[in-house]
């Protein structure tokens, strides 16, 4: 298929210069159809088959709701993503506030340190956490050396390890979205409150935090969706003991070769993500409505 995609632009080169822009779009549309639209359609169709025949059935969905494991996986994915979303936002907020407001020369350093890990790739960072958290890793090594614990603490292959690893992976994105939002707050509001005698703490609590709620919401949403769809970090740090939807899908396809059920799990993950995005969208519309009807009060 890719050979067609490769060849198509060359053959249409001559036509680029006339006004029919649709021909120019043909190669993109071809790739999108063959490697996105059709596969998605086939996958959804397949979720309604039993695996033995092509007759439509809800058997796989019934399995999803009754086998216990799948629903537990869904809940585990949601809990993990929620914890990641909260810790990304809480850890990211002070850094984002600093990046949005500081004029010191440390700003560039903090910015680079906060975002550069993104270039290191997910595997390197997850590997770093693996050797920190494993049974004979640094933390357990140090604790045992100091005599604080007798046997290694269970720090890896569980929810804790996956949340730590994913928080690290997603944090730069949370920091970016929070920084943009805090930058949008007029700094003169903070100065005015301070001049009128408000302490730093109450400026933070009554002005900065409430006004940055949109940024907090978008950071929560980004972190949740990125965590829910992550594969490598849960696979390595969670292992066989902590399975989320993404790793369960992989297992169904490559170990059990149960494609219709893999399709159902994939659709469950997709629907969870769409539900979260809709939540964010409805928050947006809600806020815009309030803003358009309530401008009088603000002025």
């Amino acid at each position: 298929m890719s050979t067609i995609a490769l060849a198509a632009p060359a053959t249409t080169r001559r036509r680029v210069f006339d006004n029919s822009g649709y021909i120019v779009l043909a190669p993109s549309c071809l790739v999108l159809t063959c490697f996105f639209a059709l596969p998605m359609g086939v996958m959804i169709g397949m979720s309604f088959t039993s695996g033995q025949s092509l007759a439509p059935t809800l058997f796989q969905y019934q399995r999803f709701f009754t086998d216990g494991l799948s629903l537990a996986g869904l809940v585990r994915t949601a809990v993990m993503s929620l914890l990641v979303a909260i810790s990304v936002t809480v850890l990211g907020y002070p850094v984002a506030y600093f990046l949005a407001r500081s004029r010191s020369r440390w700003r560039a350093v903090v910015f680079a340190l906060a975002l550069a890990p993104e270039l290191a790739g997910v595997v390197l960072r997850t590997y770093g956490w693996l050797i920190i958290l494993e049974d004979r890793g640094f933390i357990n090594d140090a604790l045992i050396h100091l005599g604080l614990v007798a046997s290694p603490l269970p720090l890896s292959k569980n929810l804790f390890a996956v949340v730590v690893g994913l928080t690290h992976v997603v944090l730069p994105f949370g920091i970016l979205s929070l920084t943009t939002s805090i930058q949008g707050i007029d700094p003169s509001l903070e100065r005015a409150a301070q001049m009128l005698g408000a302490s730093r703490l109450s400026v933070m609590r009554h002005i900065v935090l409430p006004l940055s709620v949109p940024g907090i919401v978008s950071s929560l949403l980004i972190a949740f969706t990125m965590a829910a769809s992550a594969y490598a970090t849960p696979a390595l740090l969670g292992g066989a003991r902590f399975k989320v939807l993404a790793t369960m899908i992989y297992e169904q396809v490559l170990f059990y070769i149960d494609w219709p059920f893999a399709a159902v799990l994939a659709i469950a993950l997709l629907l969870m993500m769409l539900a979260i995005s809709c939540l964010g969208l409805s928050y947006e519309t809600c806020r815009n409505q309030r803003r358009s009807t309530g401008t009088g009060e603000l002025v």
Partner: protein, 267 residues
């Protein structure tokens, strides 16, 4: 209290930055430590783990990743320019709907796209596309939204009076494209292509379904190995691939990427 608060604030930032840097520092230290079990601060330093990388086990996945990523950058660059040209420059009817279609893969988790592609190829009997062709096509779907959007932004930002001036001075459409439009959007397209390269080179959730057993991309080879061994060779692999990515960014930057875009792209 007034002194305490800024201190707490700095402490918080320091701790978060330490959290961010920690695993990367640990991997760097591990890759240079002579012990075969990973220790945090090695007493002596060695490059032997980097030497251990020069085997077919790591070289051939690396080349597969490089080949796929280069193809993805090239194809998505060409497709992105063409799409942006039709949607922004020619403003064909239905442009926003088509842009929506091109961006739509973004809203589907990669792992779901990966399953969908592998199921589809198996159902229609095209399993033999698995491996390089499927990897390239799937990564192009992934990269196309970014490249198209960057090319479209570059096209939308550029001053169309230059183009009109050229036209009124008698330049043919081909000359205008070659000497005005393409050079103006080059920085945007190059950053998009860099991004496409990195997305493809580092990709796991799609590649994990599409590689052939025994002929995998570098990240997949690494996670397969990590499932049963944490030896320092893995640290060396990871550091090498990070350095490689930094070199690629530097190279694209020299050809005229990001900073050119910041300084001259919006004239």
């Amino acid at each position: 209290m007034t002194k305490l608060l800024p201190c707490l604030f700095w402490l918080a930032i320091g701790l978060v930055l330490a959290f961010i840097v920690l695993p990367i520092a640990v991997v760097l230290a591990a890759s240079l430590s002579p012990a075969s079990t990973v220790t945090f601060w090695p007493s002596e330093w060695t490059f032997k783990w980097y030497g251990a990388l020069v085997t077919d086990k790591w070289i051939s996945p690396f080349w597969l990743s490089v080949r796929v990523a280069l193809a993805v950058a090239a194809i998505s660059g060409v497709l992105g320019i063409l799409a942006a040209y039709a949607l922004v420059y020619q403003k064909i009817p239905g442009a926003s709907a088509i842009m929506g279609a091109i961006l739509s893969p973004l809203s589907v988790p990669q792992i779901v796209k990966g399953v969908a592609i592998v199921l589809f190829l198996s159902i229609v009997g095209l399993q033999n596309l698995l491996g390089t062709p499927a990897l390239i096509a799937a990564h192009v779907v992934l990269a196309l939204p970014f490249v198209t959007r960057m090319a479209a932004t570059a096209l939308a930002n550029f001053d169309s009076s230059l183009d009109r001036a050229a036209q009124s001075l008698g330049a043919t459409q081909r000359q205008r494209l070659q000497h005005i439009v393409l050079p103006m959007i080059k920085p945007g397209v190059l950053s998009g292509m860099t991004f496409a390269f990195i997305i493809s080179f580092n990709n796991i959730p799609l590649s994990v379904f599409l590689v052939r057993p025994g002929d995998t991309t570098l990240p997949i080879a690494v996670i397969n190995h990590l499932e049963y061994s944490l030896d320092p060779v893995m640290a060396a692999v990871n550091v090498t691939s990070m350095v490689f990515i930094l070199m690629v960014i530097f190279l694209f930057e020299r050809i005229g990427g990001f900073s050119a875009q910041l300084h001259g792209g919006s004239k």
